[in-house]
Symmetry: C2
Subunit: 336 residues, 2 copies
């Protein structure tokens, strides 16, 4: 098809969005920034590291790549406006592959209200994508990681642990077709995360004091909030949803592949749904802190509280579960 | 050093810029967009395709990667405000390598008035970079590729062919230390392009009707303008600077490696400086069209004129040199 043909075909599948005055096809795009500032983030996705082509379709990878960057904008309290996509693919891939990827990108961008306004393409030995997301704060102040205060509640919008459970099922070779429906949903969640974008601006409007998207795992990402805010964060395990599909998946894995699963993910311990909820990333749900008096809409579930850090030394800062450090894999101490 | 350590070290070397209210370290950056819109472009640079680590230092690659995206913003008539950088490097590279790259990125961003406000890092088998540039139009309308009108003059700011000549010298194995000073300057130009960023907003203020940066070669990039504007562009070869270092380099290559050079770049013909000027990319100079009555500052050199396309069919649209199609490699017909 040739480079220009591919770009034209890609551009035709990716609408530019309502705020875009110059889209794909010139040296740069021009996108509205009504607030007088722009919120911007970039994420890199590499084949074999962030996705596998035998586990995810081109469309799935497009959805995931878009979601990863779009969620960063929402986590600032901003509304998504536009994506720019740099893409390299191997020459031997069929021409339909990047087009289906474009469909996935466009679909998830549209779900967030954003257009696709620019890009660059190249050949490489494996697929790589870099997605830049732009957003607008609509006059609100950005919600940073650094504003959590003792007494605030910690609340989450969106699921936790579902993508990690889906990845564990794929890693264990569980066939989607043979899996119970609820468990198959976890694999789908891994392939196509579905972040709750409107919850970001909603949290900002409600007065959220800090916010982050769960990309590396709840403990790890809250660790960044604890660090930046110089507070301690305590999660209430009873408020973390671990039943239903997550428990079914843990039981399935413990029963079918007990040895390999134990070795892969939890040392000598059995798989637990709580592990996925605490340490699984890539659901791109939003976790925020709010003043305790905030009336939270139902999509925000309170999962813990902010406390003062013990003493002045950094050892008192961190994330605990039911008042104690979490000792499992991927816990906060892992990032020390 | 670990991922967080590398990010912190990188961030410390890359100032955020004057319009940035939230820089590296949160989910996303917040950058001023005083005009109420943002200009944005992304470019991908892959080792072995866009640069070689044995021909360019980490610092050089940082400069080149930044320049490539910054020039896209200038070519819209906008002022650069910020860069976001996604970077993957092999694990075996010394920790100093990404830090020197960051120095190169920061240096070139500062030259354009931009800060570095966000990024992402990963491991990969070879170095890859994606640089997103943001800019502001300061109330001006963007200068598109589509506005050239018959009667306009074509003018260029910045050098042509220097990067291509430098690449030819490197490809032929010419040692920089042994090369005459003027010729060594071409190799330096290939390693560290130096686009004339302020010429972009200047052209917009002067009423430029179309503009593009020369990234793929003068004929190829003007071909995009001819296509988008539905006009014919004619270059005057006598106005294209081909003497001095370019002629010296052509003579050096023709003398030292006549056979390989002929085969590599120009079929059966000898290397000529004009070839580099017409088809060499990566200098990232700016080429624009202006109404013929425009009083151009001295950095803009008139190199041709815009004419009406012959007839209604696309065959009349294109770029000519002294009134005739250019038959050499990389000429316009190559992109048909």
């Amino acid at each position: 098809m040739g480079e220009w043909g591919v770009i034209a075909a890609l551009a035709g599948r990716m609408p530019a969005g309502p705020l875009t005055s110059v889209g794909i096809g010139d040296d740069a795009a021009v996108v509205g920034a009504p607030s007088g500032s722009v919120v911007a983030a970039v994420d890199l996705l590499l084949e074999g590291r962030h996705f596998r082509r035998d586990w995810s379709s081109a469309y799935d990878i497009g959805v995931k790549a878009a979601a990863r960057s779009l969620a960063d904008i929402a986590a600032m309290g901003a509304v998504n406006t536009a994506l720019l996509v740099a893409l390299a693919v191997p020459g031997e891939l069929p021409a339909s592959w990047p087009l289906e990827l474009a469909d996935g990108l466009a679909s998830e961008a549209a779900r967030a209200g954003a257009g696709i306004v620019g890009g660059d393409t190249a050949r490489a030995d494996s697929v790589l994508l870099s997605v830049t997301a732009l957003g607008d704060l609509a006059g609100r102040r950005p919600v940073l990681r650094s504003g959590a205060r003792p007494g605030d509640v910690i609340a989450v919008a969106g699921p936790l642990g579902r993508s990690a459970a889906g990845l564990a099922l794929l890693s264990a070779g569980v066939a989607v077709d043979a899996a119970p429906e609820a468990v198959a949903g976890l694999i789908a969640a891994h392939r196509r995360p579905s972040p709750p974008y409107p919850a970001g601006p909603e949290a900002a409007a409600l007065g959220a004091t800090a916010m982050i998207d769960v990309s590396d795992g709840l403990l790890a990402d809250l660790g960044h909030v604890a660090d930046a805010s110089a507070v301690a964060l305590d999660l209430d395990s009873s408020s973390l949803v671990t039943g239903g599909p997550l428990s079914e998946a843990a039981a399935l894995l413990g029963r079918e592949r007990p040895d390999s699963y134990r070795t892969d993910t939890a040392g000598s311990r059995s798989p637990t749904a709580l592990e996925w909820v605490l340490t699984g990333g890539e659901d791109h749900s939003l976790v925020a802190t709010f003043p305790a008096s905030t009336q939270l809409p139902s999509r925000w579930r309170v999962i813990g509280h902010v406390r003062a850090a013990d003493g002045a030394d950094a050892a008192g800062v961190g994330v605990t579960v039911d008042g104690a450090p979490h000792a499992g894999p991927g816990g906060w101490q892992h990032f020390r």
